[in-house]
Symmetry: D2
Subunit: 93 residues, 4 copies
């Protein structure tokens, strides 16, 4: 579970690693590597980006959204709807 | 935003419609319809299922998770991690 | 690999099973079962639908698309572009 | 349709742009930007990576897979199954 509880520094490290993976894919394309191997590398980057998104979302749900729901009023539904819409965009991307 | 605020009855209606869509795809396969048209129907069912998931999730985040976070203690992180894991499975399915 | 080489009859069986799974989710909602358990059932249906899509696509690529590419001419690019667009919609659904 | 017919040079340009987008997200995290805005940027990168995958796949289906299918024999099914498995991994990533 703790996997989604990321510090800002951890997210920065993951993004730096993803940047290197993107450069790695560019190198594979340039070297004419086998297409299916490149596709699998791209899928690995997508999964790494999803982990970052889940870390950001975990933090957002635990602070911003839970606070708004706790306070109640129109902002509760607003923050909840906004978070659900963001999750919808993650699912479809 | 209100699109995710579903009543139990609304979810039941959506699921009944999805059941009909699945039967429709079975009919298309049986009739030998063009493959790409069948694929698009299956994609439409997947999107309809995602809407149901988002409705359930919206309710879960606004009640179960927000309550646990506001009470604090170990259950807060437990419910938050559980919800994030469920979102991760939705993203990957 | 053979997992994607489905007969029409196999696809029909899978769709009948999926129909039953959708009814199962409707029952879970009606009984007020725990939200995260319902979400996981919906994710299982999505994966089962994807297997059907992959079976249909495997057949389409091996017959319709490969034939068109073999014949060449404008229809080759047309069928290839159509298949890639269908895959794009699957990825985003 | 032509959107998926990418030259090696076009793919290289897209990957360079994606690398810049990843650096942009790192900057947003560092500056403490609003979580939902960062999530949308990550989703935009995922979509850009999918376009690259679809370009590579389009080329692979039109050359490697179509050639193998047209030659026939065991390699036809092998290449077709390999491509379908790669598409399955894209759908789930």
């Amino acid at each position: 579970m703790a996997a989604y509880d990321m510090q800002k520094q951890d997210i920065a490290k993951r993004l730096a690693r993803i940047e290197g993976q993107v450069r790695g894919v560019a190198r594979m394309v340039d070297e004419g590597r086998y297409c299916v191997d490149i596709l699998d590398q791209v899928a690995a980057i997508t999964r790494a980006l999803q982990q970052v998104s889940l870390g950001l979302l975990h933090d957002h749900l635990g602070h911003c959204v839970a606070d708004a729901v706790n306070k109640g009023g129109p902002e509760a539904e607003e923050k909840l709807g906004e978070a659900t819409s963001a999750i919808a965009r993650l699912i479809r991307s």
